[in-house]
């Protein structure tokens, strides 16, 4: 319910917050408001374009593993470019914390800080943020920030991912320090930073692109302030936040009141066989929602610890996904994402826990949140998706010039089925929306070959609507030794189905699936291995979970999947009870009815 009163006084609109008398009335012109709102979004979008186009690493320039945003002078997020939601959630705490740590008074026009501290609002070390203040007429307007996932930040393995036990093994930890001083690169800091990093050339290019993006953003903001005047600019920024606040509360009110709870787990932590327990209790009451993670396991000396910011991102994503598609996301939204994640647990790791593997926990939490909401919002959620970051990294030293090449990517998997549609095949999920690295681009940069990139047949979770197919990408190193990391999960249990839907195929990580002189062997989901020339690693992601009973699936949809060779005939019969005539490629109605009756009785008797 809207709790704002609108009235008209002397040609301007007065919005009065009915429920919270502390908030002052704002006199705003609704037309100017919409104009400024679009312009603020445009600032972040222009930053994103500048960053993407001038970056060097495939991970940033092609996979779009970066984000840009504008913050007001209190460090509250106001507008953002829609790239990676996992980053945007982490910005919320990182910027104000970093400003506070460094001291706002120590930041001058033309300065930019660099920071990646996971325990000061950050996520993993690779996500490095560069941000700086924007001034107009000597007065602070706000901050522009760009975050890029750097392909390497040093540490125990190329691409800085691996089953580590302490944060110190994961690369260079950067507290907020000045990267740019009065418009000039702070060379001492940059040299020290770069000395810790393997992929020096592309990293230099990516940092420069971040600085360029911030410069573009700052320029555009100053233009806006000049156009509207500092006072009006502030007024409209506040109005944008209030507007988002109002809409957020109205949207939360649309979620049925109640207590939603769910448990989940990761298969194992990489050092022991113990599963990692996750638990959430969500309380929705009127215009408020609260995520309580009491009951999650304590943090481990193993790659399964999510930072507070990462867990917050998962909650923010889940909540936003249940709202109207045109909802803006800024501090007016984020302030309603309230959670309890106890310090020292796998959902709020504290120093000196390793965190890079915490993405697995983060995405699994996201999946768990949707499963928790399922009974209340069965048509809005999706069944379990791949729900793992699926990180693959490798490093090769160039035989010709000694350059250390690093590559990082996160692979797609099957999406969960929905109430009225199948889960799409091979696609990113939840807060993650990075592209795949084109095979031709990767092979142009590194002495390796992608020998296969395909859907995995028969990997879908069966259901009235089926889950998406998983994906397989094989990395072959014909001539050079390489160091390879798998940092992932799901090789014990695949994504679960919902409302009678079945689980998708689990993940597999196979060394040398078809080597002429070696037997295939299974790798664990969290490992670093040294590869010999000629070796291949096959990364196989899971299929999505199904939705509803497979014997209720439209037989024509089953037929279509059989014709497309996405599932085989036997599977059609065994899981869906659909019998397809060998000769005519059509559904045999009589046999199908029989097969389905048989499946129905065997499932009830089980």
């Amino acid at each position: 319910m809207l709790s704002w009163l609108m009235s008209r006084e002397h040609g301007t609109i007065v919005l009065t917050n009915n429920s919270d008398k502390k908030v002052a009335s704002h006199r705003i012109d609704p037309i100017q408001f919409e104009v400024v709102r679009s312009a603020l979004t445009q600032v972040a979008e222009e930053m994103a374009v500048a960053l993407r186009r001038s970056a060097y690493s495939t991970n940033v320039k092609t996979r779009q593993d970066f984000s840009c945003a504008f913050f007001d002078r209190d460090g509250r997020p106001i507008s953002q470019a829609f790239t990676q939601p996992v980053h945007l959630g982490s910005f919320v705490e990182l910027i104000p914390t970093s400003v506070e740590t460094y001291g706002a008074e120590n930041l001058n026009p033309g300065d930019m800080l660099v920071v990646n501290n996971p325990f000061g609002g950050g996520s993993h070390l690779n996500d490095v943020t560069v941000f700086g203040p924007v001034h107009h007429d000597g007065k602070l307007v706000g901050y522009v920030a760009s975050l890029a996932h750097h392909v390497d930040v040093g540490g125990g393995a190329p691409a800085s991912i691996g089953p580590f036990q302490e944060i110190f093994q994961e690369g260079v930890i950067i507290p907020p320090v000045k990267l740019v001083k009065n418009g000039e690169m702070n060379e001492d800091v940059f040299k020290l930073l770069l000395a810790q990093i393997r992929s020096k050339r592309v990293t230099t290019g990516d940092f420069r692109a971040q600085v360029a993006a911030n410069t573009v953003g700052a320029r555009r903001l100053v233009d806006l302030v000049e156009k509207y005047g500092a006072e009006d600019f502030d007024k409209y920024v506040a109005a944008v936040v209030d507007y988002t606040d109002r809409r957020t509360r109205a949207e939360i009110a649309n979620i049925p009141d109640g207590v939603y709870s769910k448990e989940g787990f990761l298969d194992y932590d990489g050092f022991t066989d113990q599963t990692v327990k996750l638990k959430v209790v969500i309380t929705v009451e009127g215009e408020t929602v609260f995520f309580d993670f009491d009951g999650c396991d304590p943090q481990r000396r193993a790659p399964v610890n999510s930072t507070k910011a990462m867990t917050f991102s998962a909650c923010a994503y889940a909540l936003r996904a249940l709202m109207a598609p045109d909802m803006p996301v800024n501090t007016g939204f984020y302030r309603h994402v309230r959670m309890n994640a106890k310090p020292g647990t796998v959902v709020h790791a504290v120093h000196p826990a390793p965190v890079v593997g915490g993405w697995e926990t983060q995405v699994r939490v996201n999946d768990m949140l949707f499963r928790a909401f399922a009974p209340g919002m069965p048509t809005k959620i999706a069944s379990s998706t791949k729900a793992m970051m699926a990180q693959a990294g490798f490093g090769i030293i160039d035989r010709e010039n000694g350059e250390y090449h690093c590559n990082y990517e996160a692979l797609a998997g099957g999406y969960g089925a929905r109430a009225t549609s199948d889960g799409p095949d091979a696609v990113q999920q939840h807060g993650q929306n990075t592209e795949n690295a084109p095979v031709e681009e990767v092979e142009s940069h590194f002495p390796m070959r992608v020998s296969r990139l395909s859907l995995i047949e028969d990997s879908e979770g069966p259901g009235r609507f089926r889950g998406g197919l998983g994906m397989r990408r094989d990395y072959h190193f014909p001539d050079d030794p390489a160091t390879f990391t798998v940092l992932s999960d799901r090789d014990i249990q695949g994504p679960q189905g919902i409302f009678g839907g079945m689980a998708g195929r689990k993940a597999y990580y196979i060394l040398n699936p078809d080597h002429p002189n070696a037997e295939p062997s299974e790798l664990t989901s969290k490992c670093v291995i040294e590869l010999e020339p000629g070796d291949t690693v096959s990364f196989q992601t899971p299929g999505g979970g199904g939705y509803g009973s497979p014997i209720e699936r439209d037989p024509q949809k089953v037929l279509k999947d059989v014709i497309g060779e996405k599932i085989n005939r036997q599977r059609a019969k065994d899981f869906y009870g659909v019998v397809i005539d060998e000769n005519s490629d059509s559904v045999n109605e009589t046999e199908t009815t029989k097969a389905r009756e048989k499946l129905a009785s065997s499932r009830t008797s089980n």
Binding site: L2, A39, A48, P325, D326, E440, S454
Partner: protein, 710 residues
Amino acid sequence: MTGTANAQFRIGVDIGGTFTDATLVDSTTGQVTTSKVLTTSSDPATGFIQSVQKLLDLDDTVRPDAIEHVVHATTVATNAIIEGKTAKTAFVTTEGFRDMLEIARQIRPSLYDLQFEKPPPLVPRQLCFEVPERLDAKGKVVTPLDEKALAEVVERIAESGVEAVAVCLLHSYRNPDHEQRIGKAIAARLPNIIISLSSDVVPEFREYLRASTTVINSAVAPIVSTYLASITEKLHAADITSELLVMQSSGGVYPAKAASDNPVFMVESGPAAGAVAAASLGTALGFPNVISFDMGGTTAKASLIRNGQPNITKDYSVGGAAQSGTGAFGGASGYPIRTPVVDLVEIGAGGGSIAWVDSGGALRVGPHSAGADPGPVCYGLGGEEPTITDANLVLGRLDPTYFAGGEMSLDLAAAQEAIRNHCAEPLGLTTEEAAHGIIEIANTAMVNALRLVSVQRGHDPRDFLLVAFGGAGPAHAVRLAEQAGIPRVLIPLGPGTASALGLLVTDMRMEGSSTLIVRSDEIELSQISSEFERLENAGREAHHVAASASGDPIFERAIEMRYWGQSFELSVPAPARDEIDQAWMNELTESFHDAHETAYGFRANDEPVELVNLRLTTVGKIARPQMRKLESTGTDASIASKGERPVYFAETPETKGIVQTVVYDRSKLPAGAVFNGPAIIEEPDATAVIQPSWTVTVDQFGNLSIEHNS
């Protein structure tokens, strides 16, 4: 066949969603005749020939054999994709990569939508075939082509009954040999099938983008070639035997035969025509730098023209949600194509866009549109939600009795009521304030579009002329220019059909390219010369075959470059030096650093620079028709005055509220007339709104040249 001695006339035909416009130009006098018929969606060729026949009927001095050529802009290729009516097509690729089209870029088109869909591949999985073969990134054969396996695949393709085949093998942009052998094997077995090889269509790296482009090319080829053959036949039946030319997405034209073979180059044929028209007008009037703005009933399009040439991009998708213009996932709901396209930003703001108040109490405009049916409330055809056209009417900017030249009357009271009920009352505004708000909010989105094509590409809008056309463009253009900081606006005569005129003022252009991917300090300079020579020979031959353009071809050389390690190239014109030597290379590198600094704000003089693609455009110059001068001249605008009416202008504090405004009949304005805003200028297909602080000059050709008083 063409270029007959008395060839005097040219015809342009532009098929839009609602109308098919035909324009005839007498190239000796510049006399323009236009005709309009309803688009015949089920068989657009019928509307095409009707519009041409109507032109010929209007003027019996035009003999069919005096027609030099007919130029056509069509959405037939785009529509086939959007409506899912592409031809049954097979896809052949390297073993291990059958799912290239299914996986696409592995991303979701919208971040927070759990119910999203990936666009369905244009080739279903059962028609995607693998052949054992492999090249490395340098084009060297790692696994030879397995001829036996290929023969089996060809047999399965034959059994499948497809109409077309697309072939895209890994690294074929480096070495087309395997693709060519596969093409030959299929052609030998299936001589009547259309075969597109990725190494022919778009020989550039990044396999999915190349494959997608190639698949679109082959999947629309059967439809496009049938369509163009049908038009040719109908033209012949009307005794018009001159060459049929087709507008490409990049703004040049190419012969119907080339269009049938490579239709992916004409996917954005229609929008390109508008940009070309604006470029041509700007150049003719001494303004080589132009922002083109075309606003119709459902969308507005902006594009940038520099030095008389529309900006071209290859970062583009077809068949998805509207492009955001920023690249981030905008294209993931459609199918990427990597052929040159006029770089335009299209947004959902047109006369029919609906205004509403959202749940947070904000006034919004679009993206929903009332279209032509039911249309705006004031049409009285059943529309209930207020639109931009309704807002313009309420503000007095449109005359309820003179819409479409008086053929249709508008219901002012209904428009007022709709705006009052849907917008003004919920916001506590007067009806006029709400109507004005609707216009200002729509304008904001359009100003953003203008910024996207200018500022975001590193160009200062103050250096440009805004050329505005389309049915709704002239009503908004001056205010947009004011907000975007553009000092001068030009509104051509007959803005509603100006885009069809673009078809008659363009050259024959054929694109060729060659991938290098070599660092500037490692390249053999002789390789650049020999590649350009090879491309020129191919271009010369194509030009000879096309034949209708008179004179020798002109070649334009450009190099797509980037810093070594980047992924996005900038196109840099080749230095104008005879010899490709070190001095040539130095000049080229310097131009690249400059271009990079302009685009992204920094240069890296010490970084190695990479030459990615050589690009050659073969241009066959086509003479421009003369522009026709107005017969009446004189400085006095008052003879065209239709009187005054109250119009709401609230843009600046001084002019807040209702202003008595002079209304002019455009057809009566003499060349040389000068008058100040505020003013309204009416003609049958559009109404121009001139804000206060702007001055209008009618030039000798009847264009309205509008300048800010500063």
